[in-house]
């Protein structure tokens, strides 16, 4: 168990409050520009359908980046992350003119000194989109 000035206790099994991010086509374009990943499956519905996808899908790395934001807000900033891994099991599907959810939660699974390991769940429209999602942070 780690005591942070008596304000709150973190122990194995501590569950972080769930958070919902909203994803829309506009965010996909912004992420494409910021990441220089201009793959048309993330912006062009006609193209996405032509390659067998159900619709435009979010960049897996956008999903992962938002999970990173969720955990770093809790852990105390971007410098806290030492390890971060995830498997992209299902796409986040982003129809035109809609906001879809990315719902994230995390559980503390190990504490080793000031290193905290978390497992994370991420769903969109009730479907698990990331698997084996783990993060090690310094807090």
């Amino acid at each position: 168990m780690v005591d942070f000035g008596g304000a709150r206790m973190i122990e194995v099994g501590t569950v972080l409050p769930e958070r919902v991010f909203e994803i829309d086509r506009e965010l996909l374009v912004a992420y494409a520009n910021a990441s220089e990943d201009q793959n048309p499956i993330h912006q062009n519905e006609e193209f996405a359908l032509s390659v067998g996808l159900p619709n435009v899908i979010a960049h897996g790395m956008l999903t992962m980046a938002l999970v990173g934001k969720y955990v770093t807000d809790w852990a105390g900033g971007s410098a806290s992350v030492k390890e971060f891994g995830a498997r992209f099991v299902k796409p986040v599907i982003v129809p035109a003119n809609q906001k879809v959810d990315l719902t994230v939660s995390a559980t503390v699974v190990e504490i080793n000194g000031n290193l905290i390991s978390l497992t994370i769940t991420a769903t969109s429209a009730g479907v698990k989109v990331l698997g084996m999602t783990k993060m090690v942070v310094i807090k």
Binding site: L27, A30, Y31, N33, A34, S35, E36, D37, G60, M61, L62, M64, A65, L66, G68, K69, T72, G77, S78, A79, V81, K82, E83, F84, G85, A86, R87, F88, M132
Partner: protein
């Protein structure tokens, strides 16, 4: 199909990539992140994936980037990235297999600032059959 002789090889990127504040600002902005003195933890992907694409699409390696999806991703971060950092990226093809006609390749990307290893990334990339 990927050239099997490339598995296990490390390819050193020829370019030096310098991170600008505006790149960090725009990446952070997408996430609603207001901390911009350092980059968000997954920022390095914009460097490593571009470098991997250059190496893996090369005729000597011959991965079909146009049919590629991202299978999984992992980062080990030794220190945060900040504006002004200059990196070289070396990419190592760590594993390769074919399953149900899909090519599955895991590539490690190491970002070096001089001799300092700042971030290591592992990207599993799947070329769909």
């Amino acid at each position: 199909m990927l050239n099997p002789d490339s598995v296990g090889r490390t390819f050193k990127g020829a370019e030096t990539i310098t991170v600008s504040q505006s790149q960090i600002d725009s990446f952070a902005s997408v996430l609603g992140e207001t901390q911009t003195d350092i980059a968000p933890p997954t920022f390095s992907i914009r460097i490593t994936l571009n470098q991997m694409q250059k190496i893996l699409s090369d005729s000597d390696v011959n991965l079909d980037w146009s049919r590629l999806v991202h299978g999984d991703q992992r980062f080990e971060i030794n220190r945060p990235i900040k504006a002004g950092d200059s990196f070289t990226c070396s990419s190592t093809i760590e594993s390769y297999r074919v399953a149900a006609g899909n090519e599955i390749v895991t590539v490690r990307g190491d970002l070096f600032s001089g001799n300092e290893l700042v971030v290591s990334t592992w990207s599993t990339l799947v070329v769909r059959a």
